[in-house]
Amino acid sequence: MQKKIIKLSIILLIIFIIGVFFIGLNKNSIYDTKNLVGQKITKIELEHFSDNRIITAGDLRKNNFTLINFWASWCGPCRAEHPILLKLNEEKNLELLGVNFKDKKNNALEFLKDLGDPYDDLARDELGKHSINFGIYGIPESILINKDLVIIKKFIGPISKNDYNYIKNIVRQ
């Protein structure tokens, strides 16, 4: 009887260890924020880029869909996604809120002057502190939210053509 219990325990332990390795090694170890999709953004307080006012949740509730785009003039991939943002600006059901991240005001203005301004509203996050409220960990990053401020999708890195089509389909529905 005792021998059987020991055997069974060892077999169970081996199965457990194999199981842990199997699940662990099959799991994608690259961090992403997919699990934040469906969450509501509760606190929005962003300093407006040029006006002396704060952009709040109330401002974004007025829009059917808002794409919050975090960018900076020093960020190379932000340049790559800029033409797509300009195209997205043509969508009627979508407002674009740009958040200029840890950037110099003059450089940001120059960037927009050179490449065009796709944003309906522009905010500034000089120290990057407010971006933490949106779960941002690098730029460019964009968040598509609806009227209820619920995250529909997060785009880590520059917005691709596929992302553009996805956003277009969502906001035209």
Partner: protein
């Protein structure tokens, strides 16, 4: 003059005590936070853009009087449990927390049965 010197040292002492309290708390928190864009580094060890921002946010929250748990809860809400090295106990990671105790108890039972068997012989 004497009073001024005493007041100066009291203020200095107060500031030093405050600084020590802050550094202890913030270091502990920052060491338990994972730098999401670095390989195997904590926020405390990293100098990345992300880590620098998190350091500012943690410092601000400590200054706002937030507790260690409140700071972790805030960051977990924004980045998920991956951001903390020591995740809080919940039904998803229950096995992770309970396994060492189960292993200890099972090991004890196996040793007990083994010794009992040896005594019987």
């Amino acid at each position: 003059m004497k009073t001024k010197v005493i007041i100066f040292f009291i203020i200095l002492n107060f500031n030093v005590v405050n600084a020590i309290t802050f550094s202890v708390d913030s270091n502990k928190i920052l060491k338990n936070l994972r730098c999401l864009i670095c390989q195997g580094q904590s926020v405390a060890d990293s100098n990345s853009e992300f880590a620098q921002t998190i350091k500012i946010v943690v410092k601000d929250q400590i200054n706002d009087g937030k507790s260690e748990k409140e700071i972790y809860d805030f960051l977990i809400e924004k980045y998920g449990e991956w951001i903390v090295y020591k995740p809080p106990l919940n039904k998803v990671n229950f096995v992770l927390w309970i396994f060492p105790y189960l292993a200890l108890i099972s090991g004890g039972v196996i040793i007990f049965l083994f010794l009992k068997k040896r005594d019987n012989h």
